[in-house]
Subunit: 199 residues, 2 copies
DNA sequence: GTCTATAACCCGATAGAC
DNA sequence: GTCTATCGGGTTATAGAC
C-alpha cells in the first residue's frame, strides 16, 4: 500500500486524464502515443514505465476514468431534477451544455473507441460495454426510484442511453444542439408514459 | 461521356464497395489503404489512379455510397410497414436483423468515421452530416405522410435517428439485440403519441 | 489503365544512461 | 522514476515500366 499515488499531479494521472480527452475528441486509432505524452508533458520512457501494456493499457484506464466522469454527471443531473419525469431530459440538456461550451469537441469519452474496438480489441470493447452497462444501471435506478418496475425501467434506460449517445453524435457532427433538444423532448414523453402518478 | 464506368466490376467500384464495408466494421483511422486494395483485389497504382486525392477521397465516395444503401433500407422498411405508427420500430428491427446475421460487425457505414472526423477532417465530417440529414429527411417524410405536421415530424425524426444510431452502437458493443428491441418499443410509443388518428 | 517497387514518413515500443 | 536516442515495422503516397 504505502502511498501509491501520493502526488495527484504525478505522471500517471496526467497521462490518463490527457487520454480521456483525446479519446473523446478523436477516438483510439487517431490518437498517437506521442500526442498523449506531449499533452501530458510526460516523456516516452515514463509512459512505458507506468503502462507496460502500452497504448491499449492506458486506453483501458482512460475508458474507466471517463466512464466514472459521465456516471457522476448523470447521477448529479438526475438528483437535481425538479421532477422525476424531467430527469432523463435534463441529462440530454446537460450534454448539450458541455458540448456547446467545448465547440462540439468534448463528446462521450467512450463512443468513438467503442465503435473502433468491435472486432479489433476485445479488451477495449469489454471496457466500453462495462461503461455503458454502468450508465444504464444509473438511469434504471432513477426510474425504479420513481416507481417504475425493474423490467420496464431497464428497457427504458437502454432506450434513454441510446437516445443520449445517438443525439450527441448527431449534434457534434452537425454542429447544432437541435438533436439533443429533440432527444430531451422524446425522453420527456417516454418518461411520462412510464412513470406512474404522472399523466 | 463515352462509357466512363462500363464494367460494373471495374476497380473503382470494387474499391468503393470494399471501403464501405471496412468503414462500417472498423472506421476510418483503423483502415489502411493496403487493406482496402487487398480486399478489392486492386493494385496500389490503380487505387491512386482512380482516387488522386488518396484515402480521404475514397472514404468520401464510400460514405456517400453507404448513405445511399442505408437510405434504401429505411425507405423500403417504412414502405412495407403494416401501419404508419409501426414504421420507425420496424427500422430498428431491420437493423437488428442485419447485425445478428453479420455477428455484430456490419454496423452503420457512417457512424465511426463521423465521430473520428469531428475536428480532424472537415470533408468527411460534412459527408457524414449530409448522410444523417438525408436519413432524417426520409424519416420525417414518412411521418408527414402519416399526418404529422412538418416541425414535430422533423423533431421526432431527429430523435428516431438518434435512437437508431445509439441503439445500434450499444447492441454491437454488448453483442446483444436487446438495445435495438428496446429502441423499437420506444419508437412505437413516440410514433403513437405523434401520429393523429392513432390513440 | 494497370502493376511493382520503393520512397519518405510516422507509428508503437525498447534500451540503457542517469 | 525519468529521460533520450533509436529500432523495426507499417503507413500513405509516388515513380516509372508496361
Amino acid at each position: 500500500m504505502g502511498k501509491p499515488q501520493s502526488d495527484p499531479r504525478g505522471g500517471r494521472e496526467r497521462l490518463i486524464t490527457a487520454t480521456v480527452g483525446l479519446l473523446s475528441r478523436q477516438g483510439y486509432e487517431a490518437t498517437a502515443v506521442k500526442q498523449i505524452t506531449t499533452e501530458a508533458a510526460a516523456p516516452m520512457g515514463s509512459f512505458y514505465f507506468h503502462f507496460p501494456g502500452g497504448k491499449e493499457e492506458l486506453a483501458l484506464a482512460a475508458l474507466r476514468q471517463g466512464a466514472e466522469g459521465v456516471d457522476a454527471l448523470l447521477t448529479e443531473t438526475l438528483a437535481r431534477a425538479t421532477a422525476p419525469e424531467e430527469g432523463l431530459a435534463d441529462c440530454a440538456l446537460a450534454l448539450a451544455d458541455v458540448l456547446t461550451r467545448s465547440d462540439w469537441l468534448d463528446g462521450c469519452p467512450v463512443a468513438a473507441t467503442a465503435l473502433e474496438s468491435i472486432g479489433r480489441s476485445p479488451v477495449l470493447r469489454a471496457a466500453a460495454a462495462e461503461a455503458f452497462e454502468r450508465w444504464i444501471a444509473t438511469l434504471q435506478h432513477h426510474l425504479v426510484r420513481a416507481g417504475v418496475a425493474d423490467a420496464p425501467a431497464r428497457s427504458l434506460a437502454n432506450a434513454a442511453l441510446a437516445l443520449l449517445e445517438g443525439a450527441e453524435m448527431l449534434a457534434r457532427v452537425q454542429g447544432s444542439a437541435e438533436p439533443l433538444h429533440d432527444a430531451a423532448s422524446a425522453l420527456r414523453v417516454l418518461a411520462r408514459t412510464a412513470i406512474p402518478s404522472v399523466r
